[in-house]
């Protein structure tokens, strides 16, 4: 929770072009850039697009100058911007075809990775987003609601359906219903 102080200090400093402001932003960036990139990559399926959207997310965050908030609030706000960018992104028809193939990894993980990647490709972007936020980021339904702009009750239902769908696409021997 050390980041909470630095992020709050940065937020109250008004993001001025000072060394303190830059240092605060650096802390926020280090704390949130990796999970945000993972989220963007998971949702769009492409590392290059995730790189662009990550930069755009932070730029928009800086431009909007949100009110002072704690680290959870800043994180949620960043995920919200990232979600909006994902939805507003112009998608070409061959986007899915351009999703990057699995990289060579450990033999034991390779099969699982391919299975999960293939299953995720079958899902809608919204479903991938919900699954990532819930299961990888460990967000509660309320936190997901804040990050996506959906209602808490809707999330519970949509998440359940997304999980069922993902499990159907995954090999039965890996995910037992």
């Amino acid at each position: 929770m050390e980041d909470a102080g630095t992020i709050a200090a940065w937020a109250t400093a008004g993001r001025e072009q000072t060394a303190a402001g830059e240092e605060g932003f650096r802390h926020l960036y280090e704390a949130t850039s990796r999970p945000l990139w993972g989220y963007l990559h998971h949702a769009c399926g492409r590392a290059d697009v995730a790189d662009d959207l990550l930069q755009e997310t932070f730029c928009r965050f800086l431009l909007r100058k949100p009110p002072p908030m704690d680290d959870a609030g800043a994180r949620s706000y960043l995920f919200r911007i990232a979600t909006n960018l994902l939805h507003n992104r112009p998608r070409s028809r061959d986007d899915a075809a351009r999703e990057e193939p699995a990289e060579r990894g450990a033999e034991t993980d390779q099969g699982l990775r391919l299975d999960v990647q293939a299953a995720m490709r079958q899902l809608k972007p919204r479903e991938r987003e919900l699954l990532y936020l819930a299961y990888v980021e460990g967000m509660s339904h309320a936190e997901i609601a804040a990050a996506t702009g959906l209602g808490v009750l809707s999330i519970r239902i949509l998440l359940y359906r997304a999980r069922q769908k993902a499990s159907e696409f995954l090999a039965p021997k890996r995910i037992e219903p």
Binding site: Q17, Y29, H41, H42, G105, L131, Y135, R163, S167
Partner: protein
């Protein structure tokens, strides 16, 4: 047909994240197919995310700060350009209206007739004031109008 997940699902995922399992939760996962499914999916997704995270090469935050400042300047310039365009349009409308009034309305009447329809010397002062204001506004807008006529010029 069941449409929502088990109420313990969030606790199960939190326990997975923190790696802190109570015996009751373990027991529940063993008995609840929903939570078991969620747990397995979460493990698979977390493994995938961890593998992908190795590809992540974060850009320098200083570069993002610079870019956001550049974007802020561009937005400010766009707003200023919009303001200038609006002022230019209003200036043109104003100039046309004044010209029409001077040529067709006021010019067709004798100055004294106009003045007599008003009251006393104050109305003459008012009229002169309005004309002076029009001249000032046109003189003030002249640089903007000139700027619009030469798009290659830096503003």
């Amino acid at each position: 047909m069941k449409q929502t997940s088990c109420e313990h699902e969030t606790s199960v995922i939190r326990a997975l994240h923190a790696d802190q399992w109570s015996s009751e939760l373990r027991q529940h996962v063993a008995e609840c197919p929903d939570c078991r499914q969620a747990l397995h999916l979460a493990e698979a997704l977390r493994t995938l995310a961890a593998q992908r995270a190795t590809q992540f090469k974060p850009p320098d935050p200083h570069w993002i700060l610079q870019r956001s400042r550049r974007m802020a300047r561009e937005i400010a310039l766009r707003r200023l350009a919009l303001l200038m365009t609006t002022m230019r349009t209003l200036a043109v409308i104003y100039a046309v209206a004044v010209a029409a009034w001077l040529l067709r309305g006021y010019a067709s009447l004798q100055y004294r007739e106009v003045a007599s329809t008003m009251h006393g010397a104050s109305s003459e002062f008012g009229l002169l004031g309005a004309l002076a204001a029009a001249v000032c506004v046109i003189l003030g807008l002249w640089p903007i109008l000139r700027g619009g006529a030469a798009p290659g010029q830096s503003r």
